[in-house]
Amino acid sequence: MGDRSHYESIRNARISENKKWRKSRQTKTGCALIALKKKESTLTGYATGKHSLSSTLEIVMFSLFEEKKDGTNWDRNLRRERDMAREEQILGWAARDTTGVLSPFIFPKRATKGDDITLKILYCGICHSDLCTIKNEWRNARYPVVPGHEVIGVVIEVGHDAHKFKIDDKVGVGYLASACLSCENCSLDYENYCRKRVCCFNASLPDGTKTYGGFSSMMVINEHYAVKIPENLPLEKVAPMLCAGITVYAPLKHHGLDQAGKHLGVLGLGGLGHLAVKFGKAYGMRVTVISSRPEKKKEAIEELGADSFIVSNSAEQMKAAMGTMDGILNTSSGPLSLRPLLSLLKTYGKLILVGSPIKPPELPVFDLLSEAKTITGSMIGGMEELQEMIDFASEQNIIPQVEIVAMDYVNTAMERLEKGDVRFRFVIDVANTIHST
């Protein structure tokens, strides 16, 4: 087998060859794992492209080699991530019953198909939907549930039919893990409304495999449901865009509430609401935050840049704002009183619901008729919209405000989330903290 220096010299010679080769072959797929076992050390790497590899170690190209100059480090890192991709078990945190208390949980890594990628999860946001699911508020929990659908990771494995990403790409995964891709909704890029859509957690893929979410060290996902994260977006902060971000972006765009000069009301100032304010201002709109909590005013105006703030319990303030808004985005999931909200809208105004109260609110039909108002619902967005939203956020420097927490803080985080005690989204530092649990 020869000694290490011999292989290093082969490697160095091949790297420059392969730089040229790789540029011309970047879209070719394939990922083969080669491992050399030599006494006490292991030389590993990934070869991309179509090569047949002999057992006598025709090592061709190592995408990770170029980044790690230190011989010992790359060897170790490579080994860890290579080993990780080959692991058959994944460490996650799961809720086992309606208490919603999360604790460590091992589950099988699913078999990868040709167009799958595997991510090492770096960060995962905590969404209110995670909380509702683990507590079975929607009566659909299939315990044990590993939640988490605002996932940021690095690609460590690429299926041989996967074209979108390469090893080491930074990607995001949101709510969706699968859709039929053939129905009318999917053909319009509305995979979010596909009747056969599958969530990345608490659900089953078409082949029956259960899905586990981003409160875990690794995720296998079909490449269609991952988006590229531009380099200028800080990985530790961008996770909430994958659900909260798209949830507000898609309906604002769809209903023409992305035009300079229009007046947008944002009801609720949490994970979704604060991003709606940021998007609204990026569009050049006038933004008014409507909240039941007067103490949020300073933050809304001074930190987030909202133009004005209305306390929803103040009849005087609500009356003064009557008939002034082109649209209102309701991001809260608390009880909803429609009449006062509808009164804030101009004629033809739209009330967009992205949060749903448990109890259906009363609909004063006359209030809709008399001024041609609309109430509409929206749920996340399609994959094309998701990438578009991330790219827009990158251009406009729209970055969520987060509180980064360790994995073992997650139960406390859930309690605080229930009370709305977070500015404005928790993000779990998964990669650095999950293995210590």
Binding site: S356, L363, L368, S370, K373, I375, T376, G377
Partner: protein
Amino acid sequence: MVATENGQTKKALSPEEQHPRKAFGWAVSDASGILSPFPFSRRNNGDDDVTIKILYCGICHSDLHTAKNDWSNTMYPVVPGHEIVGTITEVGQNVRKFKVGNKVGVGCMVNSCHSCHSCKQEFENYCPGVKWAYNSIDVDGTKTYGGYSNMIVVKENFVIAFPDNMPLDKGAPLLCAGITVYSPMKYHGLNEPGKHLGVVGLGGLGHVAVKFGKAFGMKVTVISSSPHKEKEAIERLGADAFLVSSDPIQMQAAMGTMDGIVNTVSAAHAIMPLAFLLKTNGKMIMVGAPDKPLQLPVFCLIFGGKSLAGSCIGGIKDTQEMIDFAAKHNITADIELISMDYVNKAMERLAKADVKYRFVIDIGNTLKAA
């Protein structure tokens, strides 16, 4: 007392004195909703006005709601009626669009502010200062009286020309029922060939929506709680399909198939099963006005990007466009022509939805001065 231009004072005129022209009609005096003969007066024909001898007037469900004070805003005595058709007997000196003898119609509106955002976009129906044909206070401070009467004086801008081939009696209901469905169908894209329209309720509004839908080249499904209406819907009105709203199997089979729904029902009902019929991003247009709030199915809207939109009649320009469209496509309302003194009976039957599909009062021949 009021000041005159030469500095003298004179006694202010009462509403009746301001309106010196004698008129007669049938009015409701209290929440019993019973109509009876009622003499009153109209204003003189101003420079921008036309005077119309009323020949026919449709009975709209809103007339019944107002008669019974269901919306808690009735100013008794009220002379209902806003599906008015007749001939012009006098024109003011500024009138350009009409001349004596023209056949014309008047719908729900008789005036608006002309300066607000809605008026400028020709949506007078959404003007905050809109004056309704009845039960409204006009710009001169007097109460408006509607079409259950022998004549009306109206500003030229709120009068609709009737094409020669449009029969007056069958065209009258289009002035409210017709525009009420035509306007939202137009503005929400539910007027495109090949799209699938659902029509909830087969009454005055619903049957006209079916006719417009077919004229637009759409597939039309009627959704009704009355199974016996199916034959009528398919064979006479030309609907493509019929769903009984209380049949869960039929409703489930039709889930996610409709681009839009025009919901004409003014009784309390469940919206959720109807919302499930919509495709993703589909819209339900509410044109019926239940007097009690309904339940909003939020999850259903969220899990499909669906919308509920309200709509109230349409502007004058759209009303004229609708009448011209109807005339071109031979669309008229299906009516039961009645005499004036049948009106209370007609109101009782209307409350039970016992009419195919609109009562029209033969004012010209049967309304006699008291």
